[in-house]
Symmetry: C2
Subunit: 368 residues, 2 copies
């Protein structure tokens, strides 16, 4: 288990867009600028500033532009807690997921919702379906619908499109995967260490030929877990045949065909005696492959990344490296409301430890 | 299996709010009124009508009122496909679920999303957490954020709060459970017939003492399934001890304690030899109760309503009455886009058949 702490190894980040407004204008301001300051600088009434900030009708183009200039010059941010509490409409936060059908996100979503509710805010969700363009479209659509903040499980690796929204005051927290090319709060599991521990567990039970089947390259979690697999193999002095490493899509057909190939020793690699699975979607397919009658004579070990419902009731019960998706969601939502309450410090990264849960499938000795 | 058709037994409904606008004004209109008609009647330009309809700035209160009166009097509906296609912002539909953590809704949500996407619209989700007030708050918040339509899995039994939104042109379709006190399109499974078939299957395998554990009274699906249980027992001439019927919350503790009581023959009823489970949350707990080592000597039969992942890999594999949640979501979304494309006929009810999937747990003979 990794320590539950900010990651000191995180690479340096570009200047925080959270802080950008305060340095951009010609005039610096002592303390956080208020709507009153904006009204004074623009030479308009408080009500007019409120209308502009909340996108209400009844302000001429000219006046709106003056107010916007004052907002920019002062570095005024609309989403302090005062706004959340005082504005007429219900406060809301948006959650952008990558897949509505992956049960990993169910407890994560529910935890975000519970924190939102405790803060009197509604949660509005959407899914990118693992499509970067869709993620951008959805995140911006939620901003256009005036969410106060966003929690994002990113599909994209470039989030510069969010910088104007963040500068305009939409608090943004990433979870499960890091943001790309912007700085923002981030909560994620220690994927590298979790995978390393899971593979080392198979090695400790005598396995030397271990297959890795995981999600696509380019997905942060998938790359970290593959890195953990390679690290554990290297630490044990075990060579890795490239035919044992199969990142890719997580649909059943792809996973099944790579698994069968590895079990039969295709592409020049010897047959594997164990699998390390990169996520719950892959694990569920591997359970099916290994449960086939013709496989039962020579049982193959399995450790999966992510726990899943009923894993303990399968035969054999499935050993997993468990994340705590509810904890990830809760932590991300709490960071978000911390920003909405006015926290203005540099973006934070919170890394959560994983837990190896030993149940049976990961303790099967090599039969090859 | 029930036929896949509209339900002729559905009780008569109040007059359709979908059609309300067309009959409300003093002036009837041949064909669907257009923005041009509204502009002519209000004596303003087309751009002004567009601004009012889309809630944009730059229209005086006076003018806005004139336009609103024309809209009401003509029965103009903003959400025809022309609007979806022509307006500047992305078209979007909202989905209100009752529980983010219930895996039943994952394929349903994804199917709604796929249909939305095929129509170039975004899907925005939220959960009522089975709280009627929360449902209302969320549905109205989505309307305030200008979704073009709503798909709702209701927690409430009174949806009159939606009538003004529906009259204003927000297409609304209910799925899984019917609307209360308004008329709207509805897609649901044939819960009664599915439950009746599942219980009759247990009876056919020799069971006479069958326990029912399901969701809370007041939830439509729960009541229909309990009705199906009672019908199957009555048709077989079997008495039902009230200690065998346990509707209630679906958390594991409640389900476990009622199950253990029924297995031990508490509250004056003889011990049950089989369970019919009212949904997948209940089934998963019953699987755990029945898998306990002390229960294995006298195996108890189980048929569950709803299929679930890995049901076929448990021992024994679990016999279920399966709904097709993806089909429910797809059908609901298609009805919604049919309304958005201008369909103006009376609300429809679509009933979907269930499928009994025989796997083993439902074919265990009585051991008592």
């Amino acid at each position: 288990m990794a320590a539950d702490a900010s990651d000191p190894a995180r690479p340096p980040l570009p200047a925080s867009p959270h802080a950008a407004g305060a340095h951009r204008g010609g005039r610096r301001h002592a303390g956080r600028p208020t709507m009153k300051d904006v009204a004074a600088q623009a030479g308009v009434g408080l009500k007019t500033v409120s209308r502009v900030v909340n996108g209400e009708a009844g302000v001429s183009q000219d006046t709106e532009q003056r107010v916007q200039e004052a907002i920019t010059s002062l570095g005024f941010r609309r989403n302090d807690s005062a706004r959340v509490l005082r504005k007429g409409t219900t406060a809301s936060i948006g959650l952008v997921l990558e897949d509505l059908a992956d049960p990993f996100y169910s407890p994560l979503s529910r935890a975000v919702e519970e924190v939102a509710r405790a803060h009197g805010a509604l949660l509005i969700n959407g899914s990118s379906a693992e499509d970067p363009e869709r993620e951008q479209e959805l995140a911006l659509a939620l901003c256009a619908r005036r969410v106060d903040g966003l929690v994002i499980v990113p599909a994209s690796d470039d989030h510069r499109y969010l910088a104007p929204e963040i500068a305009a005051g939409v608090a943004t927290v990433f979870v499960d995967r890091p943001p790309g090319r912007i700085a923002a709060d981030l909560v994620l599991s220690d994927n590298f260490e979790g995978a390393r521990e899971g593979v080392a567990h198979l090695v400790a039970h005598g396995h030397r030929r271990i297959g890795y089947i995981g999600d696509r390259p380019g997905i942060h979690t998938a790359e970290e877990r593959l890195r953990g697999y390679r690290a554990a193999m290297a630490e044990a002095g075990l060579p890795v045949a490239e035919s044992w490493v199969a990142p890719g899509r997580t649909d059943a057909d792809r996973v099944r065909s790579d698994a069968v190939r590895m079990l039969e020793g295709g592409r020049g690699g010897e047959p594997v005696t164990a699998f390390f699975s990169g996520n719950n979607r892959v694990t569920v397919t591997l359970v099916r492959v290994l449960a086939a009658p013709e496989r039962r004579e020579r049982p193959v070990a399995l450790v999966g990344f992510d726990d899943f419902e009923l894993a303990d009731l399968l035969s054999p019960p499935v050993t997993v490296v468990a994340q705590d998706p509810a904890d990830l969601g809760r932590s991300a939502a709490e960071l978000l409301f911390r920003r909405l309450d006015g926290a203005d410090d540099e973006p934070r990264t919170v890394s959560r430890p994983t837990t190896l849960i030993v149940r049976g499938s990961g303790e099967i000795p090599p039969s090859g």
